[in-house]
């Protein structure tokens, strides 16, 4: 049968058609889509700012100036980025196995608690040298975070309890837990904070070396950055270069195949949640010993765990990219401290996350513009 003239003549136009991608898109494509998503998010955020009576261009220009405008603020940006690097690594490890650890916030807090306990209990005396103090506090921080990751991991492995809900609840428990200590036993004269840590329990900062290198004067970048970079390298080794990492990736991509291959999924759920928690806990340790220098709720429970989720996603779970993206988000948070109104950075983070997740759609589908021919 030959096609005859259709009774309805349509005018020429375009139609969108979606097709699942059969082949992997080229290497640059995901990056381009992510950048596009951020651009869309900034435009959407700008519209919201404008509606709320602000000037989006000035807000964004302010963010750029306040975070990269001078050596001093670049250093501050890095300080803000440091905890994010570690929480984002934590999330990326768990997400790689499709474990939705939303509890990096709580694990971060428990890491800060663990590290603080070494000084405040005190487990080590105040005159302990720094070379001993710092590693012990790192271990304690990782332990605190790992414990907080172990709980949802164990509950998931043994009882199939949804890790999203349990890790979320543990965030609130962690906040109440440190509040209990700093209001009570460790309270500094009744204030809601502990006493300041002795100097040798602080992570070294650039400004400590200002006497020999004058350019470092006033720069607060601390050794937590090194911890973060080292952790990123270790995570890369584990995920991409080790047998365990292969198992993690296989479980994430195809749990059924992993099961057939004899991989113990339940054990991996527990271990990966503990690794994830330990990384976030290390972030808490770095923040409390590098920046805050005492246990205090508001600067510790400041939402780094949630920002880590976004950064992990934006970095496509790749450790090296995590570092770069963390610096950008550090800038956003830093500028947010001064920018008025203060809700802007959180809101923009939210929009970026949603548009990023939505943009994954473009990686899985090909959108084609099809010309509808003039018929008849």
């Amino acid at each position: 049968m030959t096609e005859t003239t259709s009774p309805k003549t349509r005018r020429g136009g375009f139609r969108l058609q979606l097709e699942p991608r059969l082949s992997e898109p080229s290497r640059w494509f995901p990056a381009a889509v992510s950048l596009g998503a951020i651009f869309v998010a900034l435009v959407l955020g700008g519209i919201v700012i404008a509606f709320a009576g602000g000037d989006p261009f000035r807000s964004y220009a302010h963010i750029a100036r306040a975070s990269f405008g001078s050596l001093g603020v670049i250093s501050d940006t890095i300080v803000k980025a440091t905890p994010i690097i570690l929480t984002a690594l934590a999330c990326s490890v768990a997400f790689r196995m499709k474990l939705w650890n939303i509890g990096a916030e709580g694990q971060f807090i428990m890491g800060a608690f663990g590290a603080s306990a070494i000084v405040l209990t005190p487990i080590l005396p105040a005159e302990t040298p720094r070379w001993l103090f710092v590693p012990v506090m790192m271990l304690a921080g990782m332990l605190g975070g790992a414990l907080w990751g172990f709980i949802p991991g164990y509950l998931k492995a043994k009882f199939n309890v949804n890790e999203i809900i349990s890790s979320l609840m543990l965030n609130y428990i962690a906040i109440a837990w440190i509040n209990y200590w700093i209001f009570g036993v460790w309270s500094e004269g009744g204030f809601q904070m502990s006493a300041k840590f002795p100097d040798n329990a602080w992570l070294p900062r650039l400004l400590d070396y200002a006497e020999s290198i004058p350019a470092f004067r006033g720069l607060t970048t601390h050794a937590g950055l090194l911890i973060g970079i080292l952790a990123a390298f270790v995570v890369w080794l584990v995920i991409y270069r080790s047998r365990w990492g292969y198992e993690i990736r296989l479980i994430g991509d195809n749990p059924r195949a992993a099961n057939y291959a004899g991989i113990n999924i339940a054990r991996n759920v527990i271990f990966v949640m503990m690794l994830s928690g330990a990384l976030a806990g290390l972030g808490g340790m770095s923040e409390v010993t590098g920046v805050v220098h005492r246990l205090q709720t508001s600067p510790i429970a400041a939402g780094y765990g949630f920002t880590g989720i976004i950064v992990a996603w934006l970095a496509k779970l790749h450790p090296a990219v995590v570092i770069l993206v963390s610096i950008l988000f550090g800038a956003l948070l830093l500028a947010g401290r001064e920018i008025q109104p203060s809700g802007v950075p959180k809101m923009i983070q939210g929009i970026i996350l949603v548009s990023l997740i939505a943009s994954d759609f473009l990686l899985r589908y090909r959108v084609r513009l099809i010309r509808t021919e003039v018929e008849g």
């Binding site: 509950l155 979320l168 109440a176 209990y180 809700g343 929009i351 997740i357 939505a358 759609f361």
Partner: protein, 310 residues
């Protein structure tokens, strides 16, 4: 001091505030129940509540019209719900993560609007208590159950309505089938996308109302991050209640009673550290999840996006 806790007036006070405090949980969690029964986990409830709370508060403050305030809160919640539905249904987003995005968005935007449009914490005249004739005169019980605001009555009324819709109507059957087996539902001609759009938008709308019930019903103020985790607990309550409205009601009451008790413990100065008391509802949620996992099964398609093979 401990004996104070058990005097009748105190007990009535605790129970009455427990009944009242369950309101935001109920609205948000019943809305979330609809979403999850259709296979969608909306983790953005907290953000939707914050925006609803702000919208209701602002309108009530500027116009004094509480009905309009509730309407605007519903509208704001619905718009947030629609956005979530678009991202979830059309763009197949990973639900656990995109919900966090909506949470941060609502948290940031409500803070931004608060500072731009209000600046300081003010109070507003919220919904008054409505005494139900005769019933409110019953000693004790009257104060507990029948002397509450209209938003409180509405929340409890929602439970049987939700139960009826989910279990006794065609719409409910469609919602459940989409949540259990979207492929089968689709082959029977049920629009999976349509149903999910409906449930997610309904969930957003009710979350907006939950926010309003806080800012112009229970507390009559708006503050940054005033929900402080309430929306996330509402999500947990759906698991807690085994995806059934009556179960959700039980969970909401348990939570709000623990909250009320904890407030009274602080008021009466009973020496239980308040931070330990604050932890209890969260610990309880986890324990109940552990206990209930073997008993009730989640909707099979929960968090799974549906793609039609064509």
């Amino acid at each position: 001091m401990i004996s104070d806790l058990f005097s009748v007036t105190v007990l009535v006070g605790i129970l009455a505030s427990g009944i009242r405090l369950a309101t935001p949980y109920l609205y948000a969690a019943i809305g979330e129940t609809f979403g999850q029964r259709s296979g969608v986990l909306n983790l953005g409830v907290e953000g939707q509540m914050l925006l609803g709370a702000f919208a209701a508060f602002y309108v009530a403050l500027k116009t004094g019209n509480l009905g309009l305030a509730v309407f605007v809160a519903l509208l704001v919640g619905a718009v947030m719900g629609l956005a979530m539905a678009f991202v979830t249904v059309n763009l197949h987003a990973q639900q656990g993560i995109s919900g966090i995005g909506f949470y941060l968005f609502g948290l940031g935007l409500s803070d931004l609007l608060f500072q731009k449009m209000l600046g300081t914490v003010e109070t507003v005249k919220g919904f008054p208590k409505v005494d139900i004739p005769f019933l409110s005169d019953i000693p004790g019980l009257g104060e507990i159950f029948f002397s509450q605001s209209i938003l409180v009555y509405g929340a409890y009324l929602l439970v049987p309505v939700a139960w009826f819709v989910l279990n006794k109507t065609t719409l409910g059957l469609k919602i459940r089938s989409v949540g259990e087996n979207p492929e089968a539902a689709d082959s029977l001609g049920v629009s999976v996308a349509g149903i999910r759009y409906f449930t997610i938008t309904l969930g957003g709308t009710l979350s907006g109302l939950a926010g309003a019930s806080l800012s112009i019903g229970l507390l009559n103020v708006f503050q940054q991050n005033m929900t402080s985790g309430l929306g996330f607990i509402a999500v947990a309550l759906v698991y807690f209640g085994g995806w059934r409205p009556w179960g959700v009601l039980g969970g909401a009451l348990l939570f709000s009673m623990v909250n009320a008790l904890q407030l009274w413990i602080q008021v009466l100065g009973i020496p239980i550290p308040s931070d330990i008391a604050v932890m209890m509802p969260y610990v309880l949620t986890i324990l109940v999840l552990v206990a209930s996992v073997s008993r009730v099964r989640a909707p099979s398609a929960l968090t799974k996006s549906f793609e039609r093979d064509e």
